[in-house]
Symmetry: C2
Subunit: 425 residues, 2 copies
């Protein structure tokens, strides 16, 4: 798991002011940070982060989230009543899956997830005793999602389960692809045809690096497809304070926006969330800064823009560097890192190393990653933790280290890989 990739100063400033409002008269803080803090506190019980909030979240923060979504999606309206603040995105995803899976019926509920996937999904599905329905991303085409693969996976799954949910991760984790608008349209059409609930994990929406890629939200595309779609397809989309250019994961801030939720499901959701009282209020305040950053006429704006651009251009640089250096290594193939924060290169593991791993009762990519760790101290996650096509091997590595350190790491991986090939060929 990544540590905080950066710290934009405005977020901790606002959260600190909310935490200890005595600081509101301190000259150390810019006036707009204080205004933000005052506004959040006015909407908090007892004007304090130390009180419970409503289970759905502090109202003015839900309003700010709705305004953010409207700006992001070119003015398509967002309703604060459809916004639920959560304890990071994971909590929202686990909550909505729990409700969708808990319905009556004889067949177990199927949940479609990409392979490779972020293991929150497989873990939640297993905890809920639902059926994991895999659809494979197309590594040959930059991890694209192909609707014919979705259709095949769905029809196979219908033989032994009741598939109700389709999960999409865009930009992809661990795969780093950014979906095209056309692909999203096809996915929405498929969900509409098949009556599937769409769960769009969009936590990397601010992390797009390839110049020929752009983030399109499922909400926006759904709306643009017209009322036949936008009035019927059930959608939950997720965002978080943990990624983007802020990367403040420790606060556990997040939100989900729901659309076309069946009233029974909505009632269950409200009930379930109220049992857990409320998401951490400091995480809610952090979320507010993410969705409502300094505006051009505010004191913090210039510094904010500089910091934001520094973070994003550094990530973009490291994304290109990583792809380039991996692809120079014989036996490593790496798709472009279009977005998110990870490389997920395919690695060639020689048959003799595969046999050795089998002797040790471990997966070949786990064997590879353990050897890498032992020889270089570099810790990457084997592809088998995310899922991959049989006979292919990968690992996930973050691009968060500073650029010079990352360059050294990549060189070490390269040297290791060459030695590994030598040893086992």
């Amino acid at each position: 798991m990544p540590a905080s990739p950066c710290m934009l100063v405005v977020l901790p400033q606002v959260v600190a002011l909310c935490t200890y409002p005595d600081l509101l008269d301190s000259p150390r803080f810019p006036p707009d940070a204080k205004d933000r803090a005052r506004r959040i506190l006015q909407s908090c019980g007892g004007q304090s982060l130390g009180s419970y909030s409503a289970s759905q979240g502090v109202s003015c923060i839900r309003e700010d989230v709705a305004r953010y979504i409207e700006r992001r999606d070119g003015g398509i309206p967002a309703d604060p009543d459809n916004i639920y603040l959560t304890t990071g995105a994971s909590d929202g995803i686990a909550s909505i899956l729990k409700i969708l899976v808990s319905g009556e019926g004889t067949a177990r509920t199927g949940v479609m997830i990409p392979i490779p996937q972020y293991p929150l999904y497989s873990a939640a599905i297993s905890e809920l005793n639902a059926v994991q329905v895999n659809y494979y991303l197309d590594e040959e085409h930059c991890w694209a999602l192909d609707v014919s693969e979705l259709r095949k996976a769905l029809y196979r799954a219908k033989e032994y389960s009741n598939p109700k949910v389709l999960c999409i991760i865009n930009p992809g984790n661990p795969t780093g692809q950014v979906q095209s608008r056309r692909c999203i349209e096809e996915v929405i059409h498929f969900a509409w045809e098949e009556g599937l609930f769409l769960l769009a994990d969009e936590v990397y929406q601010d992390n797009v690096y390839s110049e020929d890629c752009q983030f399109h939200s499922f909400k926006k595309v759904l709306h643009e497809m017209g009322p036949e779609y936008s009035g019927t397809v059930e959608l939950a989309s997720f965002h978080s304070t943990s990624k983007g250019y802020m990367g403040e994961c420790g606060y556990r801030g997040g939100y989900m926006e729901v659309l076309n939720l069946h009233p029974d499901i909505q009632a269950q959701l409200v009930k379930m969330l109220s049992v857990r009282l409320c998401p951490p209020v400091s995480g809610q305040a952090a979320m507010d800064v993410v969705v409502n950053p300094p505006k051009p006429d505010e004191e913090s704006h210039q510094q904010f823009i500089q910091e934001k651009e520094a973070v994003l251009s550094s990530l973009a640089h490291k994304a290109r560097l990583t792809e380039e250096l991996f692809n120079q290594v014989p036996g490593i193939q790496c798709n472009p890192l279009q977005g998110a924060m990870y490389a997920f290169p395919r690695i060639f593991i020689p048959p003799r190393a595969v046999e050795k791993a089998e002797e040790l009762h471990t997966a070949p990519d786990m064997f590879y990653c353990m050897r890498l760790l032992e020889e270089t101290g570099i810790c990457v996650v084997p592809g088998s933790g995310f899922g991959q096509r049989d006979g292919t091997y990968h690992f996930r590595m973050t691009i968060l280290p500073p650029v010079e350190k990352l360059r050294r790491l990549l060189q070490s991986v390269k040297d290791f890989h060459v030695r590994f090939l030598d040893e086992f060929s």
Copy 2:
């Protein structure tokens, strides 16, 4: 749900310093608050609250929790490895119940809970599709827990389920009783005999008001009963930043201490918690201040002690006042509020009001509480939300409002009750 009952200044000071470490050179903060913040930050990834922590929680905070438990329990050792930081106590309770219920077997798992109970328990049991096994607290004896009642409830439940867990809330919510040491010993002996997992909800451990009562932790009593018990009985106990004299519920800080956990259960717990990444790190920092408050030789100590004593003596005063005023009302009977933060008086509802409620398809105590709300604006929770013996009626009211306001509220409830009796007799 209660708002923050108070704010002791040291807690938000430390959390603000951790949130925005630039403040560590500010003269506005006492040196010991800065030392606390520095120590916490040194144990945080990237020295920041904005990074993920280990899933079990920040190590130095788990150490502070262990030292707190040792001081509380007269030196009985506590192991930081047995401490898990949580997102409030609710999250810990729901997590451990989930694991205990998920085992194999044909009969559904039974979970014993007190009636009246805090509804987190009934909700979690229902979500998990486990069997709720009620044992009744003895209202005639100040809501005491009688082991013969536990035994009866267990034997009945064995006919249709596999009871594995015994939940205790001490001090009681909503009932406010504080268990005697002898009672706790009997409960532990019963759990030992029957092989039950003990789940001790001790979030009100600092909220004891009656002079003839004292909080005894299950951990301490278990240890004092000797190795036959302390080496075998499985126990999880819970605490939180939300209650006590700090009352900082919005941070969602909490911890659980586990003892004698089966290694398989422990492994499942670690796996489950790691899927959710980590509890909010600012809540962890808040928990640190609760378990490691200013010491006598530190600058903040005098103010801390004054604030703490003011909060606790005010709560004690309001506890007595509430009992006294309720018991002056004909048709209201209120047990002493020995601890926690609530009164749970028994109310006499005349048969004609019960009939009226039945006509309206509502519970008689719900009818009463809605009338109270409509006529006075006072919101209390009907006893049927917590469970109560058939034919008895109660409501839960917090004692958190300032004393003069509380006095006026109690007077309004009294006037309402007299009018209600008049109307329906």
